[in-house]
């Protein structure tokens, strides 16, 4: 099973390590052709503006949309959740998203870095108790369309959601060492 991790910028190495621990062989994707044959793609946390500009320059917008149309599952964490959203609130005027998932995401929703936090989350579909959510200058999911399943909330705000072969989390499972969210993506979303 070939799963790509978009490696333009951000915490891609941690996603690669987390996936390797599950026995998947992930590939670092820096150019669109490196996604060939991928059944899943992780768009990691980082700066959504920086990743978005590099995606634009290197032709990722069309390539990801096309491969998703052909069946590739996509998981966006934090900046990645912003990049796959239908609508981005508090975005830069020219900021583009992939518009794959029917969610509306608010950038830097909690404020600046001094407001970054961690908290326990009760996530639908994950066994074994609470999951430690690490939120770094995080967005939240302001609203979801029909057909989007809310998986977790924190203080009333949606922080994890799924729509068929699309998964969005506003926190960082790759920083915790807890493999359950990655296993969920590989088994329940990619392997649906």
């Amino acid at each position: 099973m070939k799963i790509g991790v978009l490696a333009l910028q951000g915490a891609f190495r941690e996603h690669i390590v987390s996936l390797e621990a599950l026995g998947v062989s992930p590939v670092a994707v820096r150019l669109p052709e490196q996604m060939t044959d991928c059944v899943g793609l992780v768009i990691p946390g980082g700066e959504s503006t920086a990743i978005g500009k590099l995606m634009e320059t290197y032709g990722f917008y069309d390539a990801v949309a096309q491969q998703h149309g052909a069946g590739m599952a996509v998981w966006g964490t934090c900046a990645g959740a912003i990049l796959i959203a239908h609508e981005v609130l508090d975005a830069l005027p020219e900021q583009r998203s992939l518009d794959l998932m029917d969610i509306s995401v608010r950038r830097n929703a909690y404020g600046r870095q001094v407001e970054s936090f961690e908290a326990d989350l009760d996530i639908d579909g994950l066994d074994g108790g609470d999951f430690r959510g690490v939120f770094i200058r995080a967005p939240w999911i302001e609203s979801v369309g029909e057909g989007v399943e809310v998986l977790a909330r924190h203080d009333g705000h949606i922080v994890a959601a799924r729509q068929d072969d699309l998964l969005a989390t506003t926190f960082h499972p790759e920083l915790t060492g807890d493999p359950r969210m990655h296993r969920y993506f590989v088994e329940a979303v990619v392997g649906r």
Binding site: Q9, R13, G46, E47, F117, E118, D130, I136, R137, L175
Partner: protein
């Protein structure tokens, strides 16, 4: 559920640095420059009153930027904003934290305020990045609470030679620690003048416990890719962008070269027609007393 919430944890401090990896952090002195940096794909900006090359030229005491400048830059961009305080000047740090800055750089580019003590960075909610020339210096800063380090290089020179020296030193020392035996680690901790627990962690894991960027003299896309190939996690570009002929184009080129640091074809393409690079300074032409890298203890 919110009673399990915690702000200012080490994990959210080091975590922001993890999110900056593979990216370029650019020095800016105005809101306009900050917007150019963000448009070019910078992952963060460093708000300053003067870039290091101008600090070097002006001489005198260099201090934290005027809060008005920091405010203007914070308002201008949506990416993280960093700011520099003087080594040991914990009140400048308190002020910058109150302005909502996302990361503080306790920096040798400014004139040190304390020649024995760095700031106790555990006292702050905002995370800190600090400079280092070698592993011992990196681990001392981490022991004081730094959540990110950067090799120092020689700021404001446009000359990458010191950045290379410091990056190679850190890498070589990590490789050396990995290769020695348990009881030798105690002596290594003494030699490195760093806490044993951190020395042991580096020996066991073969890397620093926090993200390490490269700084001090990076002026071209090839410089940035060189530092990435030498093993840093990302780069700071200070004077190199806004002291050059076409800052917007050079900034974007350095961003692309940092992502595609192993792809010589891409580095070649983005290196074309960038206009005048900043005029560099040979390190041997800088008197010892004016070398910023010597600041910090």
């Amino acid at each position: 559920m919110s009673d399990t919430s915690m702000i200012g944890t080490l994990r959210v401090k080091t975590g922001l640095a993890e999110m900056l990896k593979g990216g370029v952090i650019m020095d800016v002195v105005t809101a306009e420059q900050a917007r150019i940096a963000e448009d070019a794909g910078a992952v963060a900006v460093m708000s300053l009153e003067r870039v290091p090359a101008d600090i070097r030229a002006a001489g005198g005491v260099a201090r934290m930027a005027d809060p008005t400048i920091v405010d203007a830059i914070v308002k201008a961009v949506s990416i993280p904003v960093m700011a520099k305080c003087r080594i040991g000047h914990f009140v400048e740090a308190q002020v910058l934290q109150s302005l909502g800055v996302d990361y503080l750089d306790e920096s040798e580019v400014l004139t040190p305020a304390d020649e024995e003590h760095h700031i106790n960075k555990w006292d702050f909610t905002v995370p800190f990045v600090c400079g280092c020339r070698n592993l011992g210096e990196a681990l001392r800063r981490i022991a004081e609470g730094a959540a990110m380090v950067r090799t120092k290089g020689e700021p404001g020179t446009g000359n990458v030679v010191e950045a290379v020296r410091h990056m190679r030193t850190v890498t070589d020392e990590i490789a050396w620690l990995k290769g020695i035996r348990g009881e030798q680690l105690f002596a290594a901790a003494k030699d490195l003048e760093a806490p044993y627990e951190l020395v042991k962690w580096v020996a066991d894991n073969g890397r620093l416990p926090v993200v390490n960027f490269s700084a001090g003299g990076i002026a071209t896309p090839a410089d940035a890719a060189l530092m990435m190939q030498l093993g840093c996690d990302g780069v700071f570009v200070g004077s190199g962008i806004f002291k050059s002929g076409d800052p917007a184009k050079r900034a974007k080129a350095i961003v692309e070269a940092t992502t595609h640091f192993e792809d010589a074809d891409i580095i070649a393409r983005v290196s074309r027609d960038l206009g005048e690079a900043m005029v560099g300074i040979n390190i041997s032409d800088i008197p010892d007393s004016e070398r910023m890298q010597e600041r910090g203890w």
